[in-house]
Symmetry: D3
Subunit: 228 residues, 6 copies
């Protein structure tokens, strides 16, 4: 009982691709969610994961591997006298969400799910800005499985890879353009960023387009904090 009080609670944010640089950016993006008396927020790389989650093959590979990662995180926490209080899967395909939930009793949040649900509290019709058009049918099936299709304005891709997104000076323009199309042609009154790596663009987009813009990772971590 006494030990319980001093155990540190940890929210594990799992980057399901193998790129440590992506995990590092994730870590920085979540800095604002940390507080002195709040839980630790640890960002983890799925080391044997795919180098990026773009195809269905990547999704299914990450989904399978994430289970062992969940178990490893719980063990790590325990070995340090901490407790894995919640998990966030930081990939917009929510790769392995139900596998993860099967492997731990702690709550697990997928960023697509948390992001969409949070967007539903900020507007009536959610416009999703995706990276690649090939992911859109997967998103649509997923939103349907959540039974929230009625709240989707549309899902449009910027047609720009994750790398291009990070380096390319034109990324923000492309995001604004896509967001504007979702608003003007599809009736979106709230936008959802369809990728874990778009956090830095949230504020400029919101300012430019004058509708709420939801970052899915922030949304998932906020929901995770609410369970602690």
């Amino acid at each position: 009982m006494r030990r319980k009080k001093t155990m540190t609670k940890v929210i594990y944010v799992i980057n399901p691709n193998s790129l440590a640089a992506v995990t590092q950016r994730l870590d920085q993006a979540l800095e604002a969610m940390r507080s002195p008396n709040g839980p630790l927020i640890r960002c983890i790389t799925l080391e044997d994961g795919p180098p990026g989650v773009q195809t269905q093959q990547d999704v299914d590979r990450a989904a399978y591997l994430v289970g062992a990662q969940i178990v490893a995180c719980e063990q790590e926490a325990r070995s340090q006298g901490d407790v894995a209080a919640a998990f966030v899967l930081a990939c917009f395909s929510d790769s392995g969400l139900f596998h993860a939930r099967e492997r731990t009793r702690a709550p697990v949040f997928g960023i697509a799910e948390s992001g969409f649900l949070t967007a539903m509290s900020r507007g009536l019709k959610v416009g999703v800005i995706s990276i690649l058009s090939s992911s859109i049918p997967r998103h649509l099936r997923y939103f349907a499985s959540m039974m929230v299709t009625g709240r989707l304005a549309g899902d449009l891709a910027i047609g720009m890879g994750v790398e291009a997104l990070e380096s390319n000076a034109g990324a923000c323009e492309r995001l604004v353009e896509t967001g504007r199309q979702l608003i003007e042609k599809h009736g979106a009154d709230v936008l959802l960023l369809g990728c874990a790596g778009m956090t830095p663009f949230r504020e400029p987009l919101e300012r430019e387009l004058a509708v709420p813009v939801v970052d899915p990772t922030i949304a998932a971590v906020a929901m995770a904090l609410g369970t602690i």
Copy 2:
């Protein structure tokens, strides 16, 4: 620019009934959501509101009055060099949610909406535990307006007023019984407390019934924190 940095952000949690004691309990229930470097969380009583929000008349009265309260909160914040960063309407009828959103540019969260959306991230079928059966058709219309009816397992009332809830030793038993019915007969795999005043029962219910139990006020404040 300099001034912006020192402005304190405030989340206003508005209790839409006139009972200061209710507001006080709300304030205590939210203690765990506060952090040294986080926003202030101020609980406010809608002083000319109804003594409780039970009938549709109460809902519509609170809905009308909440607009002026929003404006008053923003003025109070400004007068103290703070900023009203978000609002939470702490009544499960989300009384005045759209009126409030019309009166401020800050995000406004209704606890029924936030609670239901958060429950959707913890299970497939949401069981709602309400206070009075007369509120249930109103809830059903509201969930329909959110287009989430497909995710509702059922909405059952404990048939016990707010006061009884607080004083009565039998309240927890009644909540457990109602929760169990939602799980066993209606297929709920997550429960949502349908009242701002049930926070103290969340943990015992979760322990007893072995499914996630979502407190709507905590859920709304967590979502509000995610926007800051």
Copy 3:
């Protein structure tokens, strides 16, 4: 028993704004619904209501006030030996519909609800012609709460205030243009006038556009007559 036979039945049509001129036009528009042996149809102004119901604040104010009006109408009827047999709320936001239903045992009809339901019997896809675009999200939430979104072709605003509607020679052209867009771009095969004050335009629109055009106030009064 004898007394019952001689009691006059009254359908109260409540204009939830404070403008007597609007009530008067309503009264004229309903002339065709009156018959020698039918119920009285009395049009009433919500005197302390907003001067027009355009914002959510107006909606919530009218919603709150309409309850007392219902009670007052019932008393008026009783004091004259009549009976308030049904109520119609003549504002396309159906402001206070559920409050009103809580205050009387007589049936209460909202014109948006009655209008949409009636339109559903005249075509597959309903196109709604609204006054202001700011009301459209409110309409969409309301149609969703009615679970009839699947039957909505679209909701477009003429972007012309109620006053402009009445005075402006261009109103009919604007209505025809908006109706045509709903038919040609959104697939509407029936149109619903989204305002209590568009009655005079129903016939010209129907003639011009060759699809049924439903006036919501007429629809609601017809439904009210069906209960008597």
Copy 4:
């Protein structure tokens, strides 16, 4: 133009079975809907129709034959200097509704459609009381085609033929029992009579069960009156 003024408008109510006695009872049931300055309401027997519409074969036979009947009614009206202003198909299978609409420019109302829509204005969840359980899948498909399934509480049969309904002293008890089951077990808060021949039972049921009870023929004629 002068002639138009003196033309009498007629609402044709077509009984799609061949039993003149049924038509006669229909005629009596609609007496209250007539008014001195209103349209004529003429009840017509589909003479070569099936002796009752119970099987799908009956439905499809009536559906086919109703087209010629529509044309015949229009000719009859014209030959007498009247105008067929609206049609009501008085069979709860809405047999031939779309065929009829194809044959005339006057509005055509099916009693199942009008009845269900009207019930939607009187409660949230509609309980349908049918004659035979074999019709229920047909009703369910029809309500689905109307996209109103979300508003259906349930559809239960009294398991009693039309004839039994008319002669049997136990019919009212059976109706009350079925209605009570719809309310208590299926959550109905409004009942819809699923047959053109149940009109005499509407009032006793409403009194006994304390929820609105909608007669579909009255509902359809009221909607028809609203178009004139």
Copy 5:
């Protein structure tokens, strides 16, 4: 028992119009579905059917007549020592599907139903290519009655009669053009041919448009084979 082994199973494909030439083409189109040890596939003309099923009147006439045809087929089979193992109604309005099911215990497949369901296994959003635009509301009501509207991308007509379809050299171009519009503007990723007579165009369309193209008659016969 011995007799059962030697009974030939027959799938009856009923062409609900009276044109023997159409039945003959149907027969040829199904040649590829026949196999030495499989059931017989017999194509039958509904001799007193309409010369084509285009209007609702045609649909209702065919629906009524199909019942007797089902009975006649079963008798024919029995008289030859065969058994009517399944029925396919080869008209995209699924005219008489429920009537037919009432008349036989053998499974009955409608080509619109089977085609749409099969298309749902080949893509997320089904684009339907119809003959005439006047049939589209009927299709939409039917897809709604199947509760599959969420999977419909759109239904567009080529605006060309059945005869034109067969003779006209421009038919394929028109089909490609309509299919392309369904894909590019409506988001279809699978196409469904909305007519029993488009079989010869399936392969060229699939090749040209690079999405799966489903022929509804083939789909229905495949489903029928699956029951044998």
Copy 6:
């Protein structure tokens, strides 16, 4: 061109678990679907798959591995001068369906999808008989992703492992009992076997319960045959 004629078309039926005995039974169950002039039907074991697909971990593992299997099958076919004309994934979780579709241009059928769609052509409300109750939420999410939830009567587990199913004399009784509950309490009018290994029970169940019973593997192979 000549070579094309002599290429044998193969339908690969992949058993996504590692048990060759299961594959063998599958092979026998599909014997009736083979015909002299039809395609080959080859049943394949996913050799490094899980020993059974019961948990989400199993599902995600099989989903990941199935991609390589698809590629291997295509190579095998090519190396023998054949062509992989279609694939069937013979596990009711449709494990890896979208991964497989990404890896081949041939059509891929999942037995849950094909089974449910086929059941929709045999009745209005589909009752699913599952093996384990822990799979039911997964099924519900999947049916929702297919947007066919409106057609689901219920999904009940027999609570008996695959092995027990095969050896246990009581399996048929348990299936009948579960099927009866789906029919009588949940309103199912067609049953779908929720497992690839229940084929031998299809006929006895259909005979006993007097509603159509759909075997999902047969349904998928029939759909596959329809594409060839």
